[in-house]
Symmetry: C2
């Protein structure tokens, strides 16, 4: 991607399709650009001026270099115009025009043309089907939508142009400002990953916000976002979360819905804060832009009213924050500063008759306590309390102690001015104390994100050629591979029970003899997927019984399906299911995020309780470890109810090895190890199935 | 309780302690009463007028009858004043004065005096330690707090006076009105149950709202609220939900915290809608006051913007609402009314260039569809769309079709006037469509509440005397009773395995012989609670081994604890744990709600996954049935993974029988049946423990 400075900080902007016809988009953009501090060059073949600006009749007529061109001419002409802009050396183009990928196959072809033009001329292209872009430092509003945004520290991208219109209008009213705003449109060229990258380098952007209905390249986004979120928080609303929503999103933008579980895991792995709705999006944004991250989790509540203090404490109980315990010095200070009947313990109650001095003293004492990492000031309107002065005091004290503060000065109109004062100090005010808490909680989550040390996935020494070979052989027979592919797991170092696939009773006997103890025998056929259902599995076969068992299995398979292709019988070491715990380790591919690993306990935990967790592969050791810990039934692996804990490192390593396998082989579309038996001695993959795409081998 | 008309609708109000001293509460109340349409009678021993009103120097001097007296004199005098008011025949008294139950033992004694005065004179007494009461039809503001509320249909009670101050101020700004407001104070006499009852009879109250930190008599509240919620919805914020919050509430009001699980179950059983925070409280209140309940769950979304339409659909996916499918006629109508490119399926997208006529036509068509039970209109600001007219149209159409509508006309200042128009039609408008959805969802929940048919708990034919006898005998030895109390369950018709408690090897032998098959033998001693730990349980004892087993159990018990009181050995039929599922049925007592039943699956489900459910007893058959269905592991009882379903009616009956037992015997403080084995053939209580309070026998 070429340098994107010209996109949000251009000196000269051309509007291709500018006009002064009332009600036209070309005019709306020209009007919106009136406050722009740079130069506007309207391009229109048949006019001499537009809204008083001198016009270029052709793109080729423009002599001075153009930093950004906005294209609003009809779709066919738009493609040509973009090419001409490329020839002129224009590097940043916003295509407002609709009628591309979102409008049938003709449109899709047109969009392909746009893409190849952008590639040819190395262009940053926004859209098509975009509302436009905005950047407040130069008062540039190159959209046909809303009034200019207020200046601020938030940069916002949206896959819905209409949503920008609503949000900017609302934000202006709320006093919330933006640095840049971009309507992503069809994302033919520049997409969410590019803007995250652009804003990462922008010192004026302190928080990146987005409304997305889909992410094109999930893994790519994870890799970019991880880097960015170390310095700049990203908060996203990803809609189409629910089945109904995904269906609506798909009919709206033609986005192919990836699974919500993949988005959930992927955005989490990317270090993105996910907001569920508009209110959360801006609540998080404001506190992230205005307040420092807390060092610890301890929060203090200072209020002049018991009830709202309790409500605040409840919300804290629901969050990752903890009620801080004050040290002796603080308690003594509060005892001195507050009247009898006040509560000097957290939540501090300065009582209903508190004036500004008392309130200020209490806040100052509490913020000075080293156990206090963040604070929430809650107040109800009382005659002796001047909200304006309280707001100023809180701002000063926040700056003095430099820990994050949120407020809930409660009331009606009377809070408008104090809330503005607080906002100017970067402190968000809410009527509802619960919102102050969830916002601080988001700050905490962001702090934890910045502390993550992203490690590279471990690379194990594996036998890649053997896997290639097994896959090729098996794929010649069927796309669905059963136990005959246990060798794949073995080649990647995932322990499997001792065993072999044999084709004669004699070989079966031999195999059984080389294994100590009784064996398990299973029919091996790509045509018989549910082996147990036809009696195709025999457990606990002793050496004497191996030959008979072999014959019986073959007979059963042939009776069940005379034309079934039978590869033989698997003779396998018995795995002690008594001391082991059955787990499931699986993988499928998501259209956006690629390989998605799934882990859980087997049996009822998967089938009835749906207690599983997922991650986008490849995973690091940290991520594999997290997977183990976050299922509800994790205590069963860790020695609950008197069991001996299983060998967790072996499980974690298996997850990582599977991650490497499915990353190395895109041909593996799905894979299930079920069960992967975990015991105190290690793990063993007892059974496995996979689906392969022969074209990708 | 005497007639409470005088409390909120008095003609004559006396203010005992009225004064014109600046900054005093007595003056604040007099000022707040200036708009009151009735007569105000200040009482002050040493003045002739207060704020121009003629004064009575003594309560005894008041000649005309007083409907309501507000008491603001210091605590000691307040008690005496209340007595004098009683003597004068005043039936409604609000004690503003603090320094009672919340203030040490002296205050508590004073509060007792107030209570006995109220009882003697049959008074409705609010407080003490109350902010006062308000009622808008007569513009009565008998509080020392906020400005008068706007008139409206909501009646609001709060255990926090300061919260009322904040809420009324905020509501005035939001255009939200109230019928009555009461600050409950210490609830010495009138409490939440009384106000729920009072407002049930009030035709002007359409929704009852409350902020509570505790409920004094939980079961009483359930019984009153159930009746009320059939006609009038009740929405409560109950704070102190979390451990931290409960602790804060307790230090604030001295409320003894009942368990959150009890509140959760109890408020649910009471038919109360529970709001988690202030925003939800008023979101729910407004839609309940303004819109009819929907017949079905189908909701339609009509928007002029894809993105916000998807967000709305997502929120619907998270709720109990369902996206309605339109019938053919609607689809054809929409196809005709909307341009190409519009989405005629739900969510309907009238597209960005929709004017008022198009929007109106689409809404009209959709609301006429018989599959549509509720609708949400979502709009982003576009030049061709007049929000004011849209608001009027929505109001008209809602009235025409009479189904509930909520709106998200998005934007800044420009939505103030249209939102007001909508509010006047009873339609709430939100910037965030997710709030429109959660509000409609609350309406749905309320509809379901009104449809509940509360049945009386079933009364089974039981042997009450036998239980009384067993409890009395056992309680003489210890408060904790083990297997020797299995007879209690038997007496209440909860099936127990065949068996007996025996004191000699011979008796053991005899008992075993009368049981078919092997037996289980357990030591019986009130001093040995964890029998298994000392080898005090023998499973699968054959007839031959019974005598030896008896001796061995006795020896082990004596070795373990030489002074243990040994009651004998229990010889019990073996219960087949292979075909059965272990469940747990238990009870403990909550300080507010009384007996709380707990049900869940045994083993890991209780210990690791904490998958249990609770109800306040007594429970009806419907409630017992709900308990069975709402645990996550319920499918395991219903035949998941190829099992045969257990005898659900038998389980449900056991829950009801236990409910009857613990209701009949308040002396039973705790009781656990663990396991209660459920199988396709029925249930069996295999082991049981209980704790008894001998003083209540």
């Amino acid at each position: 991607m070429p340098d994107a400075n010209g996109l949000f900080d251009p000196d000269r902007v051309a509007v291709v399709g500018a006009t002064d016809r009332e009600g036209s988009i070309g005019r709306a953009i020209m009007e919106n650009l009136e406050e722009f501090t740079g130069t506007v060059v309207p391009v229109n073949p048949s006019r001499e001026t537009v809204l008083g600006y001198p016009v270029a009749n052709e793109i080729a007529d423009i002599t001075d270099p153009i930093d950004l061109a906005v294209v609003v001419v009809p779709p066919d002409i738009a493609v040509e115009a973009t090419r001409e802009l490329g020839e002129q050396g224009v590097k940043n183009v916003v295509v407002i025009t609709a009628g591309f990928g979102e409008a049938g196959s003709e449109g899709a072809t047109r969009e392909q043309e746009l893409k190849s033009i952008a590639a040819t001329y190395d262009m940053n292209l926004v859209g098509p089907n975009s509302l436009g872009v905005m950047s407040t430092p130069s008062r540039m509003n190159a959209t046909f939508g809303p009034a200019n945004a207020r200046p601020g520290k938030l940069s916002f991208m949206s896959q819905s142009g209409a949503f920008i219109t609503a949000v900017v209008d609302w934000a202006n009213d709320q006093g919330i400002g933006f640095k840049d705003v971009v309507s992503l449109g069809n994302k033919a060229v520049l997409d969410e990953s590019d803007f995250v990258d652009i804003w990462d380098d922008d010192p004026k952007t302190e928080v990146i916000l987005g409304y997305l209905e889909g992410i094109g390249d999930g893994r790519g986004f994870i890799d970019v976002a991880r880097e960015v979120t170390k310095e700049t928080p990203i908060v996203l609303v990803k809609s189409g979360r629910t089945e109904a929503g995904a269906q609506a999103a798909s009919s709206h933008t033609g986005t192919i819905a990836g699974s919500e579980r993949a988005y959930e895991a992927g955005l989490d792995q990317a270090g993105v804060l996910r907001a569920e709705n508009v209110q959360e999006l801006f609540d998080y944004a404001q506190i992230l832009a205005g307040q420092p991250v807390p060092d610890g989790n301890g929060v203090a509540v200072i209020s002049n009213a018991g009830g709202p203090g309790v409500m605040t404490t409840d919300a804290i109980g629901d969050s990752n924050l903890e009620m801080a315990s004050f040290d002796q010095e603080t308690l003594e200070g509060l005892r001195e500063a507050l009247p009898e009947g006040a509560n000097i313990y957290n939540p501090v109650d300065v009582i209903g008759d508190a004036d500004n001095e008392r309130f200020e003293a209490a806040i100052d004492l509490v913020l000075a306590d080293s156990n206090v990492d963040a604070a929430i000031v809650v107040a109800t309107p009382i005659a002796v309390l001047d909200y304006g002065k309280l707001a100023t005091d809180i701002g000063t004290l926040q700056e003095k102690h430099d820990i994050p503060v949120a407020t809930a000065l409660m009331g009606g109109e009377r809070i408008d001015a104090p809330a503005r004062t607080l906002r100017e100090s970067g402190i968000p005010n809410y009527f509802d104390p619960a919102r102050a808490v969830t916002s601080l909680d988001a700050l905490l989550t962001y702090r934890d994100i910045t502390r993550i040390e992203y490690e590279q996935p471990q690379t194990f020494d594996v036998d890649r050629e053997r896997v290639q070979e097994i896959l090729e052989t098996a794929a010649q027979r069927s796309n669905r591979i059963g136990v005959e592919a246990m060798g794949i797991l073995d080649a990647y170092g995932i322990p499997t029970p001792e065993g072999a696939i044999v084709e004669t009773p004699e070989a079966a006997q031999e195999a059984a003899e080389s294994i100590s103890g009784d064996v398990v025998m299973k029919i091996v056929s790509p045509d018989i997927l549910h082996k147990s259902d036809i009696g195709g599995v025999k457990v606990g076969v002793s050496e004497d019984g191996v030959r008979d068992a072999f014959e019986d299995l073959i007979t059963r398979a042939k009776n069940y399906q005379p034309d079934a292709q039978i590869l033989g019988v698997q003779v396998q070491e018995m795995v002690d299911l008594e001391t082991g715990t059955e787990t499931i380790l699986g993988m499928n591919r998501d259209p956006q995020f690629g390989p998605l690993l799934l882990f859980g306990l087997g049996g009822i935990f998967v089938e009835v309780l749906e207690d599983t967790t997922v991650r986008v592969a490849p995973v690091s050791q940290r991520e594999a470890t997290e997977m183990l810990g976050e299922i509800d039934s994790a205590p069963l692996l860790r020695g609950a109810r008197g069991r001996e804990p299983v060998d967790e490192p072996a499980l974690i390593e298996s997850i990582q090895r599977l991650s490497q396998l499915v990353t190395d082989f895109p041909a593996i579309l799905e894979l299930d190890i079920n069960p992967l038996v975990a015991s105190p001695e290690g793990v063993q993959a007892v059974d496995s199935r996979l689906t392969v795409d022969p074209d990708k081998l």
